[in-house]
């Protein structure tokens, strides 16, 4: 809110009260308009149906709070620091104290707080703290003289440097962490499950990144290929008794073929139109799965999908055919967690394959052609690139990885139905890619952890999960509109021989060039 104006330092410290009133009243009105329906009316279960109860007192509180908070924000912007720090700080301390007491003693404290719900009160508390901190930071800056203003380019260069360094160290660090994750002391079954889920989305994100991030084709039906992969494996396994590892390549090929099938007619479309058609394709696949009862079992789904084996050794207590199992072979105690750990490593490997493949192909002519196509299709054509074939390969390869991920999903769940492949899945995967910073590999990981992992871990917070999801999206869009880690690594470096790139030695590198 008002971020761009807030950044320019106030020219004169005087407060423009009229502007303050205008802005605050506007904010309050917007909040009032939004909250009348969303907060003011609530449907509640009563005996014999639903009743609508009104909560206009909450609407009033929210509106007044919006007015006051906005006014405080404007005051900070106009250089009034101390009063804001004192008032907001005092209120924040009081609220924190009350909330702490509520939490510690379990005694209802809502009589002293604006809202009846501790989480909403907590959010308000956080806003107060943020305001006080912001004012304090501004105060410090004003005491230390005006900070050196950074130009837009300097800011961008700094961000790029940060992202570059971050990616360089974070990549190996994250991989090492992922490798030892199942053996960390705090990791129990729940955390393992969450990690497997996050990793699945990381893989899907990396796969979609090829299509959206590299080739710049907005695909809103990616989940269709995920579904094709899942059903390919499920049907093969349940009908022909084939194992996961045998079916995996086939599922990838199936999904890739569907990618080609869709790609042929639609890749002449551009931008919005492509998005709409892919959206439709995703739905068509789901509807077919739902209605082709003889083949897919329709809404009942497919159950009893077998788990993957470790080089032929099943991870079960007792092998069905009396054969040897994993724990017998390795002389270990049987534990149900073993199977999840194994699944975790399977998806880790699949995801890493996707990642390595993408990193490698970016440096090959075809990968570079994808990126060039995203930047300027006409230029590409006049350089002799066949845009249709280039896009088709991107589409098919992206689909293939979705197919792999789909097989994994099927084997992990043991049961699949069309329910799992709705549009919202496509949207979430796309959100992971876009918020991660299109084309950024580590960005996808960070975004998947934030968008998938955190909501799972905070499942206890139930209805606030989606609130936090939306909040995270808004914050990312405000702070990093191009994505968390938006920075395109060049595919060729002159120091490929050995030395690491260091910021600032471009000159030396240029001289060292042939």
């Amino acid at each position: 809110m008002g971020d761009t104006t807030a950044r320019t330092p106030a020219a004169n410290p005087g407060v423009d009260w009229a502007a303050l009133a205008k802005e605050s009243v506007l904010t309050a009105l917007v909040v009032l308009g939004l909250s009348v329906y969303m907060i003011g009316l609530k449907a509640e279960d009563v005996t014999g149906g639903l009743a609508i109860i009104t909560r206009y007192d909450s609407v009033a509180i929210v509106t007044v709070l919006a007015f006051l908070l906005r006014a405080a924000l404007v005051l900070v912007r106009s250089g009034v620091y101390l009063p804001v720090i004192l008032v907001c700080g005092a209120l924040a301390v009081a609220m924190t104290g009350l909330l702490g007491a509520w939490w510690a003693t379990g005694e209802e404290m809502s009589a002293y707080l604006p809202f009846g719900d501790p989480v909403v009160n907590g959010l308000l508390d956080l806003m107060l703290i943020a305001l006080a901190v912001r004012a304090a930071l501004r105060l410090r800056a004003s005491l230390h003289g005006p900070a050196k203003a950074m130009t837009q380019e300097e800011k961008e260069a700094k961000a790029a440097r940060f992202v570059k360094n971050f990616s360089m160290f974070a990549g190996p660090a994250l991989l090492a962490f992922a490798l030892i994750y199942p053996f960390l002391p705090f990791v129990d079954r729940f955390y393992l499950d969450v990690a497997v889920l996050v990793m699945t989305y990381v893989m899907l994100g990396w796969g979609l990144n090829i299509v959206v991030g590299l080739a710049g084709l907005l695909d809103l039906g990616y989940v269709a290929f995920y579904a094709v992969g899942a059903y390919s494996y499920a049907l093969l396994a349940t009908n022909f008794d084939l194992g996961f590892w045998v079916c995996l390549p086939f599922a990838g090929v199936m999904a890739a073929s569907f990618g080609l099938l869709l790609g042929f007619p639609v890749l002449r479309l551009r931008g919005d139109y492509l998005a709409i058609v892919t959206l439709g394709f995703g739905e068509i696949i789901r509807v077919i799965l739902l209605n082709w009862y003889q083949f897919t079992n329709g809404p009942d789904g497919i159950s009893g999908i077998p788990k993957p084996t470790f080089f032929g050794l099943p991870l079960v207590r007792r092998a069905a055919d009396g054969g040897e199992t994993f724990h017998q072979f390795f002389n270990m105690q049987y534990s149900t967690t073993d199977r999840i750990v194994f699944l975790y490593y399977v998806i880790l490997i699949l995801a890493m394959v996707t990642n390595l493949f993408t990193m490698r192909i970016r440096k090959l002519p075809i990968g570079r052609a994808w990126e060039a196509l995203r930047e300027d299709e006409i230029a590409c054509r006049s350089l002799g690139i066949n845009p249709t074939n280039t896009k088709l390969t991107a589409f098919a390869i992206g689909a293939m990885f979705a197919g792999f991920a789909g097989s994994f999903f099927a084997t992990r769940q043991g049961f699949i139905s069309p329910e799992s492949f709705t549009f919202i899945e496509s949207a979430v995967i796309l959100a992971v890619v876009v918020l991660g910073g299109m084309g950024s590999q580590i960005g996808v990981v960070v975004a998947a952890v934030i968008l998938i992992g955190l909501p799972e871990i905070f499942r206890d917070l139930q209805q606030y999960r989606m609130l936090a999801f939306g909040g995270a999206m808004v914050l990312i869009m405000l702070w990093r509109p191009a994505g968390l880690l938006a920075f395109r690594e060049p595919t060729i470096r002159l120091w490929k021989g050995g030395g690491k790139p260091e910021p600032g030695n471009e000159k030396a590198a240029a001289e060292a060039g042939p």
């Binding site: 570079r368 930047e375 350089l383 240029a510």
Partner: protein
């Protein structure tokens, strides 16, 4: 080498080319001049098949390319530095050059790269810089360099002097002469800068409203009173 005969091109209902005939012989520099909106860029684009000629034929080395897709025409040895440069802004200079060389045999890459860096030393200093952050003139150099990377036999240049300082214009024209002479490359050049273009070119065409109205050697056109009045007065 290139022969355009009776070509009409439409943008929807607008007839941008109204029966154009142009011949470009092997190892020639031929220039096309004309007012804004005359259809010069359209002709260059039509040669590359985008947009396609509605009627008429375009042949390259005797082969009919009128209906060929753009990428195939380019692979037959035509390179275009299109209007507005169209370099890849987020890619580095090096990557842009690589993109130029996608259709070429990779074994010549280093050699070709060294050659364009000889022509444009400024680019060599900036191999790691992103295309979008180059200055306008540098972007123009990159666009030409990128076109050269495909080892074309026919080079189509659309206003290479656009927006450049007089010194750089001179340098670019020098480069065009150089690649024509030393690399035996045929050049078809669209220019607003009629004076320089006609002095450089062996032959020239004048286009008005989608039709060729005048043709002749560079010197003839320079001396022609009509050309002088329309394209050369006021300056030079």
């Amino acid at each position: 080498m290139l022969s355009v005969s009776g070509v009409h091109t439409f943008y929807g209902n607008i007839e941008a080319l109204r029966g154009v005939d142009v011949e470009v012989a092997e190892r020639e520099i031929v220039t096309l001049i004309g007012a804004n909106g005359a259809g010069k860029s359209t002709l260059l684009m039509t040669i590359c098949g985008n947009p396609r000629a509605t009627t008429g034929t375009i042949t390259l080395n005797g082969e009919d390319i009128t209906q060929r897709p753009t990428f195939e025409i380019v692979r037959m040895g035509v390179a275009q530095s299109p209007e507005g440069r169209r370099i890849f802004p987020r890619m580095t200079v090096e990557e842009n050059l690589r993109m130029g060389a996608v259709t070429a045999d990779p074994q010549y890459y280093d050699e070709d790269r060294a050659r364009v860096f000889d022509l444009f030393p400024r680019l060599k200093e900036r191999v790691e810089q992103r295309g979008g952050t180059l200055s306008g003139g540098e972007q123009q150099m990159l666009a030409i360099a990128r076109a050269l990377m495909s080892r074309p036999r026919l080079l189509l240049l659309d206003e290479p002097s656009l927006g450049l300082a007089p010194m750089v214009v001179k340098q670019i024209f020098e480069v065009i002469r150089e690649i024509n002479e030393s690399q035996k490359m045929t050049v078809f050049l669209v220019e607003q800068n009629a004076f320089h273009a006609l002095r450089l070119a062996h032959r020239g065409y004048v286009m008005v409203n989608g039709q060729i109205t005048l043709t002749g050697s560079g010197d003839e056109l320079l001396a022609n009173p009509e050309v002088r009045a329309a394209y050369l007065e006021g300056g030079h």
